[in-house]
């Protein structure tokens, strides 16, 4: 996947040059082996993976008078890890929060443009953001477990969504998938705040995946953690990508290079400068600005 044609995907509108809505036919998640070149509409090798599940078209976001995102066109493929990198204040977190409409909670934020989730514009009037967020889970920068027991934390989403059959089983499954079960199985009724930062973040991931969403958004999930905890989270993210579509915002370029299949580079002013396969971005970016950013000349 070192080469990738600039194509527009079937369902995407023709887009500016900064956008590459290519689908990646790569179920194994190993980018070095795969060499296929996308041809429009043929996804035979990919099966279900690689089909765009989230697409934004000319998405603009304003905080009051300030424009935080400028005409973003982006298609995020299913069951892959898509990373968003860029300097502080470039709008990558804003974009992430547009996907599950968390920006609705900020009174000053105004979103203009279209964002499709499974073919439905989530900013249509008939979309309930609560229903949307039940399909799109989120993990935040700082671990934010509720001041409840470990069990209640994981069960929270299941309870509010009335999925209370086999609750114990579902909690156990979620904790196992988040690679936390062995560490907490004997203290499920203890407060989640007694866990270490890394454990808390994995608990937050368990909480997010317990309700079996389609997409998991991660807003710098490892930035507040030490290197060991970070590597555990990274391993976990790669595993999660087998079942979920993962979108991750990160400040850490090595992290993006390690775990993601696709990378979007946002630069100051809220514009999406380049979006492509991760290897392409890190090895041979089209844009000089992206190259400067990645090699550390600015940002």
């Amino acid at each position: 996947m070192t080469e990738n044609e600039m194509t527009s995907n079937e369902s995407t509108e023709p887009t500016p040059t900064t956008e590459t809505a290519a689908s990646s036919p790569d179920p194994s998640g190993d980018p070095l082996i795969d060499q296929s070149i996308d041809v429009e509409g043929t996804d035979a090798t990919a099966g279900e993976t690689g089909k765009p599940v989230i697409e934004s078209r000319d998405l603009n976001v304003f905080y009051g008078e300030t424009q935080a995102l400028q005409g973003i066109d982006l298609a995020i493929p299913e069951k892959q890890v898509t990373a968003m990198i860029g300097p502080s204040g470039c709008g990558k977190s804003t974009f992430l929060r547009c996907i599950n409409r968390m920006n609705d909670l900020i009174d000053a934020a105004r979103v203009d443009g279209d964002l499709y989730f499974e073919g439905k514009n989530v900013y249509d009037d008939d979309v309930d953001p609560v229903a949307l967020r039940r399909r799109i889970g989120m993990v935040f920068q700082h671990p934010n477990p509720f001041p409840k027991s470990i069990y209640d934390n994981v069960a929270y989403g299941l309870r509010i969504q009335d999925q209370t059959e086999n609750l114990d089983e579902k909690v156990e499954t979620a904790l196992k998938r988040a690679a936390l079960w062995d560490e907490v199985k004997d203290k499920l009724d203890k407060s989640a705040l007694d866990l270490s930062g890394g454990q808390q973040q994995r608990l937050c991931i368990a909480r997010a995946i317990a309700v079996d969403p389609d997409v998991i958004l991660m807003d710098e999930p490892a930035s507040a953690l030490d290197p060991i905890a970070t590597s555990k989270i990274e391993d976990l993210i790669e595993e999660l990508a087998e079942e979920f579509t993962v979108v991750i915002v990160t400040h850490n370029m090595q992290q993006a290079a390690r775990i993601s299949d696709k990378t979007a580079v946002f630069l100051t002013g809220g514009e999406l400068v380049e979006f492509d396969d991760t290897d392409k971005i890190f090895e041979n970016p089209d844009s000089q600005r992206v190259e400067d950013y990645i090699t550390g000349k600015f940002g």
Binding site: L105, D107, R133, M138, N144, F146, G157, I160, S191, C204
Partner: protein
């Protein structure tokens, strides 16, 4: 910069740093603090001296009690302080728990004497339990019907407690019943479960009802608590069993000891049960066992002092604040005057305030913090409202009294000076304070919790109900209790709504004319007899301050527990 002489150096007294202004400022601040504290302390000592009159006692009496109580307790306190064990804390708790227990016992005893019969209490509690059961059952049967549930939650308690008002539907029901020969004697309204229980031809005796509705629930909670802490079901059941046994024993033995059955049951529930659980825990852990000596020494010392002073014929002090003062009504003679009816009036006023102001204030705070928009024209309007709530908190209390007079007495024609009018007027006065403190508490819930909840796909209601309120509740309670402390001391609104200057009988209903503690104290201040102005007045002030202290201590305990867990 000039070169410094090597011998002066850059450090020490000759350096360039000038501390003079800083030290002077620190000293001024200390002086201000000391002045404030000392003045308040002197005032309190002055009032306490008037109320208790310790120096009216014989010198021998004072010396005896100093020797039997004060000195041993002081020695023990120093000993605990130097000990590493948590003996001091044990001593503190074992001395404090009985006091709190006795206060609660007294409160409930007054409740049963003045406000409700045990049967009324029983009927009220049973109907509330039935209402709660119906609500839970509805939740199980129809978990999805949210709007229906709102109706059930709001209406069920009202129907079980108050019944259905006379409506056309009820005319139909009662007419039909009468036509069928089922004459309940209640035309045009359906009676509530509470009234039905009270009309039962056969009811259990008082002590059975008290054990069912007071002893067993409290013992059950304590047992559950012990079970959680020790992870032993047997211990939890033991707590419930021993408490029930002690309660039943008292029913048999109480009359022999001259203690009323009701009082015995209350004592077992509120004083003996918590103390027993705590002492048993201390003995089991074996930490700070020596602290248990403190209350024992106190009791033995008081008893020994009584024996010695009795034998030697030393006369005790003649305090204004004594048992008689707390239990009798005011009188023309200072020696017989008491504060009991005014205390009951104050407590009933607080009940009215809690029932009205707490839901309204907390509801307003939740709306303003969680729902109200912050942007645009409506956002500006909300800001205006918030500013004005702040202003309302500063409106003089006499104005609220005037508002109460106009609204409740002139417009609604409620009886002048009644408990409900006093409660509502003073409740309006503290409403802004409750709103502001509840807002503070809600605002202090980290936004990351809300984000996490919304990110999970929770609705606003679910987020508030399951995340925000549990976190904010201790803060809300602390603020509310402090506001209630202000309410209980307010005098001006009571004067405006015509609370009685002096009443001989405690109020029996919320529409009775009553006096409250500050109002009673104000009347005593204008009595001609100097004994009233110096002695009775001081006793009343100390009583009021003691109530305030207990309320503030409760607020502090809640806040500390919250900080420990949070």
């Amino acid at each position: 910069m000039a070169t410094r002489e090597p011998e002066t150096g850059w450090h020490g007294e000759n350096s360039d740093v000038n501390h003079l202004r800083g030290r002077a400022f620190e000293a001024t601040c200390l002086a201000a603090t000391a002045f404030g504290l000392v003045s308040v302390l002197l005032l309190l000592l002055f009032v306490a001296n008037d109320a208790f009159r310790p120096f009216s006692a014989d010198a021998g009496w004072l010396a005896t009690y100093a020797a039997t109580v004060l000195v041993p307790l002081a020695v023990l306190a120093v000993y605990y302080y130097r000990l590493d064990e948590p003996a001091g804390e044990v001593a503190y708790v074992t001395s404090g728990l009985p006091v709190v227990g006795l206060l609660l016992t007294g409160g409930f005893a007054v409740l049963f004497i003045e406000l409700l019969s045990v049967l009324e209490w029983f009927a009220l509690l049973i109907s509330l339990v039935v209402a709660a059961g119906l609500i839970v059952a509805h939740g199980r049967l129809r978990p999805k019907a949210a709007l229906e549930r709102l109706g059930v939650v709001l209406l069920t308690p009202i129907i079980t407690v108050f019944g259905l008002p006379p409506t056309r539907f009820n005319w139909f029901v009662t007419d039909m019943a009468a036509a069928l020969g089922l004459d309940f004697g209640l035309y045009y309204r359906v009676i509530s479960l509470r009234e039905a229980i009270m009309m039962l031809p056969f009811v259990p005796t008082d002590w059975v009802m008290l054990i069912l509705t007071l002893v067993l629930p409290v013992a059950g909670v304590a047992g559950w608590f012990v079970e959680q802490r020790r992870e032993s079901r047997r211990d939890g059941l033991a707590v419930v069993g021993v408490t029930t046994a002690a309660a039943v024993l008292g029913v048999v033995a109480g009359p022999l000891l001259g203690i009323g059955t009701d009082v015995w049951l209350l004592l077992v529930t509120f004083a003996a049960l918590p103390l027993g659980v705590y002492v048993e825990g201390v003995l089991r852990r074996g930490e700070g066992v020596r602290g248990l000596a403190f209350p024992v020494v106190a009791v033995v010392g008081v008893a020994a002092g009584a024996v010695v002073t009795g034998a030697l014929g030393f006369a005790g002090p003649d305090p204004w604040l004594d048992w008689g003062f707390l239990t009798s009504a005011t009188s023309r003679t200072a020696a017989d005057a008491g504060i009991y009816p005014a205390m009951v009036g104050s407590v009933m006023m607080i009940i009215v305030i809690v029932l009205t102001t707490f839901p309204v204030g907390v509801g307003a705070a939740i709306y303003l913090e969680e729902y109200a928009p912050s942007q645009g024209l409506t956002g500006k309007f909300v800001t205006l409202i918030e500013i004005n709530i702040g202003n309302l908190a500063g409106v003089p209390s006499v104005v609220y009294g005037l508002l109460g007079l106009a609204l409740f007495i002139r417009v609604l024609q409620w009886p002048q000076g009644s408990v409900i009018v006093a409660g509502l007027a003073v409740g309006l006065l503290i409403l802004p304070i409750v709103i502001i403190s509840a807002q503070e508490a809600i605002r202090s819930v980290p936004d990351s919790f809300r984000q996490a909840s919304y990110g999970m796909g929770a609705t606003r209601w679910q987020t508030i109900r399951q995340v925000v309120l549990p976190e904010a509740l201790p803060g809300i309670l602390t603020g509310t209790i402090l506001a209630l402390g202000r309410a209980i001391g307010e005098t001006a609104p009571l004067l405006m709504i015509g609370a009685a200057a002096s009443v001989r009988l405690a109020p029996n209903s919320f529409f009775d004319v009553a006096s409250m503690m500050p109002r009673q104290i104000f009347s005593w201040s204008s009595e001609l007899d100097p004994a009233f102005r110096h002695g009775v007045l001081a006793a009343g002030v100390i009583t009021l301050l003691a109530v305030l202290l207990v309320m503030n201590a409760t607020a502090i305990v809640i806040r500390n527990r919250y900080q420990r867990t949070g």
